[in-house]
Assembly symmetry: C2
Homo-oligomer: 197 residues x 2
């Protein structure tokens, strides 16, 4: 007989990705034992994020301001647009610190199976932004999956009328990766795109 | 460049057991996308639990009332005390519905390595409860680990002066388990404790 407060907490925790009923119970006990240092701060952080975070209407990023900090950062160059599927991909690229241009979050990939067409993604905004004067390059940083590559081809067709260079991320051996564990497709791509040492 | 609100949320989520930085980011995005159905309810459930949950001074269970619902449930019999290491073990036994007596949560096991002695566990309360008139049996439902078994032996010595039967959980083949995958100790125990069909 678990009390209703704990039970509700476990039910909600079990809805998080990667957690099931068993790990949700473990997390709940962990939180209850760390009420002041973790449980209350997490409750407040969730409330603050729920109240403050919105989607940037320009690029689709999540931030507490709209337009987001990246769109309004005058130190970033506006000539390059990097198209990503999801905000998580934008975060991943930002962590590298290797890109100082602007982003555009599509919100997914085209999928006939799931009924996701061009109108369900942020494609009109992308075409409009890519047509602006000063934009020279659109990087299609989509996942190397069937959905991502289908969408990249579709976008490259639609962007043909804009006066921009269209690029994609390089395929190759991951840094630290071992050849023996790579799939044939990646190895073939890495071989074809070989560079002079 | 992730905003400070999202960053703080990810930092806190990464402290939960089983989550690392990468899965914390995934959970944060999942929550932000489900603001009304998951993020705000979870924030409220955490706040309610943090405000309401206390440790039962009788048995050590976690509940919103002290004494807890189990201790005050008049439909449960008071003649049997089930000793467990942690509240999670109590929850596990309650889920079975197979036990209708009272619990006693030790709060851990004896450990010379970690410096946990008898005074760090809820042993005085157990001895006091076991000496009460009407208590006939103490089930030592401790984990079948070195720490759990050491503690069980220690408790069985200390409880010898009380007029109670001392029992432990049965060892054997887990229901649904295959012999080939069982360790020798379990198999030996299951063989020795064989029952007539």
């Amino acid at each position: 007989m678990i009390g209703p407060e704990i039970d509700r907490l476990i039910q909600l925790l079990a809805k998080l990705p990667g957690l099931g009923p068993r790990s949700a119970r473990r997390v709940a006990l962990h939180l209850i034992k760390r009420r002041d240092t973790l449980m209350e701060p997490l409750s407040e952080a969730l409330a603050a994020a729920a109240a403050g975070i919105r989607t940037c209407h320009v690029c689709g990023n999540l931030d507490t301001s709209d337009p987001c900090h990246i769109c309004t950062d005058r130190a970033r160059e506006n000539g390059t647009l990097c198209v990503v599927e999801e905000v998580g991909d934008l975060w991943a690229l930002e962590r590298t610190g290797a890109f100082r241009g602007q982003y555009h979050v599509l919100g997914g990939t085209l999928s006939a199976l799931e009924g996701i067409g061009p109108d369900d993604l942020a494609i009109p905004g992308l075409l409009e932004r890519a047509s602006r004067p000063g934009v020279r390059e659109v990087i299609l940083a989509l996942n190397a999956t069937v959905g991502g590559q289908t969408t990249a081809h579709f976008l490259s067709d639609r962007l043909a009328s804009c006066d921009v260079e269209i690029t994609r991320l390089a395929h190759g051996v991951p840094v630290g990766g071992e050849l023996d564990y790579l799939d044939d497709g990646t190895l073939t791509a890495a071989l074809r795109a070989r560079r002079a040492l």
